[in-house]
């Protein structure tokens, strides 16, 4: 059996793993780091233009082979399992949470506080923004003050977004360009943005940050060793001490041959789903409910945010297709006065062609051909559609769970995870009021420019999920401390999304990275 010895074994190869490995290798030059990732490396940057074109032309997936067929979970939001993780094809949104997210209990009597001071986390937001080279404009709200400027100025607003910003601000809300991890000029071995406008699928220039670049940069000078296509199936605890001694794995090409990693420190950086899953799978006679689980909370308090969408029609003229992946954000409702009913959400605005695309038939059912179809299309392009969305702060109950599904197993007979989100009673109780509030905001927005809402809908999953290994100060009510160190095992850390007690009300990746960089500092120190 191959046995690899190292100082730090990082399990998982997504964005938090990349940031963690990068920072630790800087803080502790010469430290031995092995990154173990179940999926494959897709380092063929030169092919991404072609992959993108085939995605546009044929709807082919632009990341070939970025999944493992029998490693499927219920309730996940993406099948991607590859070096780079979900951040191979994220949009690049880099919003910060706000102080309220960390103080829900003490300010509002809701959910739980995070065991971190805002000023502490804010420093790591700055670092995360530097490493991801975030392009942004400071928020107009004084509560969002920053200790450092953004590393890049904001992404220039397209003509369409300039029109929509003027329109939206007639509501009294202040809108800013969405901060994004998108290079305006070459940086970090990546090119500059040339508005391919497929950030959420694939970015051929590399302008939108993706972790595969970081891994390649760490591999070349041998700062890390990467074992891809290797699935860690169990963490092995010491027989008597409170440490983890090994991680047991299998390589895809040698499924019958176990591999073992022995390390001084183990870091689970496997995201919201596979982190808790690995801990739960790591059952033994001493730890029958898995490792790091003396609280019984591994796989509980799975979080994320709900989202409400709407489309508005307005008279102002835009030209859909200029920069559809960029948007505006208002942070007005990140704050909620304590003497008002609780509701928190971001407010987002995109250019859109919804309801104005070419169609085959007239409303009367007549088949439209050639010039008729073009004339019908043109007649519907006067004015604009506007896409609106709010990510809504909702709080999980302890029954919001990731469990092992005995009816769904992989090739090794390991039960796969199943995620079922549940809200706490207070979230459920205010649900209708929350929806009414958000639609009210959308209606106020829509009034300008002779606008009106033409539809609205509610997402049927939680976006930017996290939880399952929540952090806290009390080992009875949390899995790890604020650095991600598990209460039960002094050399086992969990980083990023799984450690969040609540899911916030805006995109989570920057927060996951900031938390991880804070963990990295502690891991490098110990």
């Amino acid at each position: 059996m191959p046995v690899y010895e190292t100082d730090i074994c990082i399990i998982g190869g997504g964005i938090t793993s990349a940031m963690l490995a990068q920072k630790i290798s800087e803080l502790r030059p010469g430290v031995r780091i092995i990154v173990v990732e179940a999926g494959r490396s897709i380092f063929d940057v030169e092919n991404r233009g072609r992959y993108r074109q085939r995605a546009l032309d044929y709807n082919e997936h632009p990341w070939p082979g970025d999944y493992i067929e029998d490693q499927r979970a219920g309730g996940i939001i993406s099948m991607t399992m590859a070096v780079g993780g979900l951040a191979l094809h994220w949009g690049g949104a880099c919003n910060r949470f706000s102080e309220e997210d960390l103080r829900l209990k003490s300010m509002y009597g809701l959910a739980d506080d995070w065991p971190i001071e805002w000023s502490d986390l804010e420093r790591f937001y700055c670092e995360a923004e530097r490493r991801l080279n975030v392009s942004g404009e400071p928020s107009p709200h004084p509560e969002d003050r920053r200790s450092e400027p953004y590393p890049q100025g904001p992404i220039p607003l397209s003509y369409n977004l300039q029109i929509l910003q003027r329109w939206a601000e007639q509501s009294g809300l202040k809108f800013s360009p969405l901060p994004m991890a998108r290079n305006l000029t070459p940086f970090g071995g990546r090119g500059s943005c040339c508005v391919y406008d497929t950030c959420g699928e694939v970015c051929p220039s590399g302008a939108r940050y993706s972790p595969d670049f970081t891994f390649r940069q760490l591999l070349q000078p041998k700062k890390i060793v990467l074992h891809d296509r290797t699935l860690v199936r169990r963490l092995v605890p010491h027989d008597t001490k409170s440490t983890i001694v090994a991680a047991q794995a299998r390589h895809q090409d040698r499924p019958d041959d176990p591999i073992e990693y022995r390390a001084k420190t183990f870091v689970v950086a496997s995201g919201y789903c596979w982190s808790a899953h690995l801990l739960l799978l790591s059952q033994s006679s001493r730890f029958p409910n898995g490792v790091a689980n003396s609280s019984g909370l591994v796989g509980r308090y799975m979080n994320g945010h709900k989202f409400i969408n709407a489309t508005a029609n307005i008279d102002d003229q835009t030209f859909p297709g200029q920069n559809m992946t960029h948007s505006l954000i208002a942070r007005e409702y990140f704050r909620c006065r304590i003497d008002r009913p609780f509701v928190r959400h971001d407010t987002r605005v995109w250019e859109s062609s919804a309801g104005r695309d070419p169609r085959l038939r007239s409303p009367e059912g007549k088949l439209l051909l050639g010039d008729e179809l073009m004339a019908d299309w043109r007649s519907r392009t006067k004015g604009s559609s506007v896409r609106l969305r709010a990510y809504v702060d909702v709080h999980p109950s302890a029954d919001s769970r990731l469990t092992l599904d005995a009816t769904n197993k992989n090739r090794y007979d390991d039960p796969m995870p199943k995620i079922e989100h549940r809200f706490d009673e207070k979230t459920l109780a205010r649900d209708l009021d929350t929806k009414a509030h958000v639609l009210g905001v959308f209606n106020v927005l829509a009034k300008a420019s002779n606008g009106r809402l033409v539809n609205s809908s509610e997402g049927d999953y939680l976006d930017h999920p996290g939880g399952g290994c929540r952090m806290g100060t009390d080992p009875a009510t949390s899995v790890c401390d604020s650095y991600g160190r598990t209460h039960d095992h002094e050399n086992l850390f969990v980083v990023g999304a799984p450690t969040t007690p609540t899911g916030g009300c805006t995109n989570g990746t920057l927060t996951f990275v900031a938390l991880t960089l804070r963990s990295a500092q502690e891991i490098a120190r110990t």
Binding site: R54, A55, L56, D57, Y58, N59, E60, H61, P62, P64, G65, Y67, E69, I76, I77, S78, M79, T80, I155, P156, L157, S158, Y159, Q162, L184, C193, C194, V195, Y196, D197, T198, G200, E201, P204, S205, F319, P320, G321, Q322, N323, M324, D357, P358, R359, L360, R361, L367, L369, G370, D371, L373, M374, W377, R378, T381, G459, D460, Y461, D463
Partner: protein
């Protein structure tokens, strides 16, 4: 070999051959010259007249290239939120060839080749064909349901058509300096 022995041998081989695969192999993998010719005849009916003959021919030619570059069994976009693994189906070319032959046959039944029919006759034929193929809307990209709606989607869903519709150089999804997007798009020349 005696005749009976030969027949028995053929029957034996036939029993073990994957007939479905043979059937597919026997079908055209590329549009036939006759099918391409039919597509060129139909295109001016379903594409905007403002394209003119040269651009209309170019759209058809590019669509033919699209059919040639189609890959069977390719993993399609997993989706986000509720992901699932889906693979591309068999090439639509055999279906396209049959559909074009059927359209030509229908045109002949109404008295001539496609260009000789009046607009309402063409509409009627296409309407019936689309209904039979289960096409209700213009697909976001060629979907393999019907060759003519796929040709229409190939053009009308393109960046080029978006520019034609708005009479503006938007260049949706075309690599361009970000500064260009900050200005109102210039009208098409």
């Amino acid at each position: 070999m005696k005749r009976r022995t030969l027949l028995q041998w053929i029957a034996g081989v036939a029993a073990i051959l994957p007939f479905e695969r043979l059937r597919l192999l026997a079908q055209p993998r590329e549009l036939t010259p006759e099918a391409i010719s039919a597509l060129h005849e139909i295109a001016p009916t379903v594409l905007p007249g403002a394209l003119g003959s040269a651009r209309t021919r170019a759209v058809v030619d590019k669509f033919v290239v699209w059919t040639k570059a189609y890959r069977e069994g390719a993993a399609l976009a997993h989706g986000y939120g509720h992901p699932r693994l889906v693979r591309s189906g068999p090439t639509p070319v055999p279906l396209y060839v049959a559909q074009l032959a059927a359209l030509e046959g229908e045109a002949r039944a109404r008295g001539g080749r496609w260009p000789a029919l009046d607009q309402e006759a063409r509409r009627s034929i296409l309407d019936a064909a689309f209904t039979k193929a289960g096409v209700r809307n213009l697909p976001p990209r060629p979907s393999g349901q019907h060759v003519v709606t796929d040709l229409m989607a190939f053009y009308f869903r393109s960046s080029e058509a978006n520019d034609d519709c708005y009479n503006a150089i938007i260049n949706r999804e075309v690599c361009r300096p970000i500064a260009i997007t900050t200005m109102r798009p210039k009208p098409l020349a």
